[in-house]
Symmetry: C2
Subunit: 314 residues, 2 copies
């Protein structure tokens, strides 16, 4: 039954996202719908819905605008990321900036941010303070990542800070806001926040692993893209440092293409295995946080979501 | 005495702006301070402060974060505008994207938007709904402007829509929020909104005129910059259409440089004079809106602000 409720909730989120991007400036509607309908995993809205249900919330439609807003934050950053990364495809579709050009992509991203604000504003101060904080952290994480990539300098601590801010903070905000609106007490809201935060770290580490080893057809984007953009190196150094281990791989076995070479080296270096272990640890922390909650179908779904994030291949 | 209060308020706004951009990501602090300290006219915060005082508000410091937030919205859009316009200077200083590059400028602009949200969130739903609406309109106005410039197609109606959304809406929001926080009744809040909205239209028309006829030294940017970016044509067509009037100017008298030629044509065509008339009409509407308010020092200051906007030369 919770599964059905979540399904209904996600359908309502889709409708909300399509409605909210509508503008009398046709280009903004078109670009908004283009990115919204390109099929994300919707894991952030799911967190808001599940947290709402886990604390006993009974009017699921009340949380839809929050669930849509957290997905919209993510979507807005994708549009701006793709400009900065010169990416031509996203989720198997042409990117907004490749289709409409850089100027309009920048404005479309800004527009989606303002739509987050429109969705959130009616909820009042407590919710907007949480959302504002998550948005700030996200941009800080993206900036730190761009700076580290540019400097070619990424240690384990920096990697952790980046994924914490750019991914885990918004996951945490989604669950906290859902739990608050559902009427959860302070301790339960905090527990659900911890769950979602660690799920976010897990999600991002798995994402970075998939960039190195994933099947391009399943991913909807070329493998090694992040690597090519100097980001995969994060995981490499996080996983023990490519410099020290690369020599273990015989040069003769490596392909000619530099990106393919680096990917092969990473696979051989043990970095991916170390990253997998870290993902597993974060996943366990997420599960443990749920010990604070009474047994419920929603809680079971949240445990299952951890497994899904760990096992995903795209 | 109101003059002193406004001066104190603006000093507090500067402090607030400097504090709020501080991040442990040094680059964001640096870029934020760079643009914040480049000396804007601060007309939007003044509107929030004046509206607060005009309705009898007595705790001016309560409105400072709102006043800072409206300036911050404007500042964030400047950073993104300068990317799209490839502008190298702004207010006589190097632009953020020229100094830090496009990637970081895009992120710095996003960061400033999130800081608007942080400033506003504690005020609750009523204020955030107004601010969200103004931000949406602003981005819509910018998009419409970029689309019209690209198409080289700008009629009078489109020009009015653009300046209404990209400039007047935020002016209106600043005054409305200030008046609400000061305890103004609905009718007075609406009157101050109408005042500020029309002041915004006036401000933008004067701005567009200054781009054509202004002294580059006073402006802190080259004259004809907007024109070069296909925007000055807005005012031209708004003022009667350059195509039909340009023939009145003898070709021989025109300079060789195409931008200089277009500027000369605009000056000669009467477009500037027509735009001046329109600015005067909007200024009168702004003044008339203040008839709803009882006599006060703050009201006098608001009338004086209309004159200052009409007479400014940079």
């Amino acid at each position: 039954m919770v599964k059905d409720a979540i399904q209904d909730g996600l359908t309502a989120v889709e409708a909300q996202l399509r409605t909210i991007v509508t503008s009398d400036i046709q280009l903004l509607t078109d670009a908004g719908l283009h990115i919204i309908t390109s099929g994300g995993k919707r894991v952030r809205p799911q967190l808001a819905l599940l947290a709402y249900l886990a604390v006993g919330g009974r009017q699921l439609m009340d949380v839809i605008p929050i669930a849509a807003a957290v997905e919209m934050v993510h979507t807005a950053t994708l549009v701006h990321d793709d400009i900065n990364d010169h990416s031509l495809t996203r989720r198997g579709k042409i990117t907004v900036h490749a289709k409409w050009g850089r100027t309009f992509a920048l404005l479309a991203g800004d527009y989606l941010f303002t739509k987050v604000y429109e969705l959130m504003a009616p909820y009042g101060a407590a919710y907007n303070v949480i959302m504002a904080d998550a948005c700030i952290k996200l941009v800080e994480g993206e900036t730190l990542q761009a700076a580290a990539a540019k400097a070619g300098d990424m240690d384990r601590e920096t990697y952790k800070t980046i994924i914490s801010r750019k991914t885990a903070s918004l996951f945490e905000a989604a669950a906290r806001m859902g739990a608050m609106l559902g009427g959860g007490d302070e301790k339960t809201v905090a527990a659900l926040g911890t769950y979602a935060y660690n799920l976010g770290l897990t999600f991002q580490i798995v994402d970075d692993i998939l960039d190195i080893i994933g099947d391009p057809e399943e991913m909807g984007k070329p493998a090694g893209l992040d690597l090519a953009q100097n980001r995969g190196v994060m995981m490499a150094q996080n996983g023990g440092g490519i410099e020290s281990t690369a020599t273990a791989v015989a040069e003769a076995e490596l392909p000619d293409d530099p990106i393919a070479r680096m990917m092969a080296r990473l696979r051989e270096s043990g970095a991916v295995d170390i990253a997998r272990l870290q993902a597993r640890e974060m996943a366990n922390r997420a599960r443990t946080a749920l010990d604070e909650l009474p047994d419920s179908e929603a809680r079971d779904e949240m445990l299952e979501l951890v497994d899904l994030v760990m096992e995903r291949n795209r």
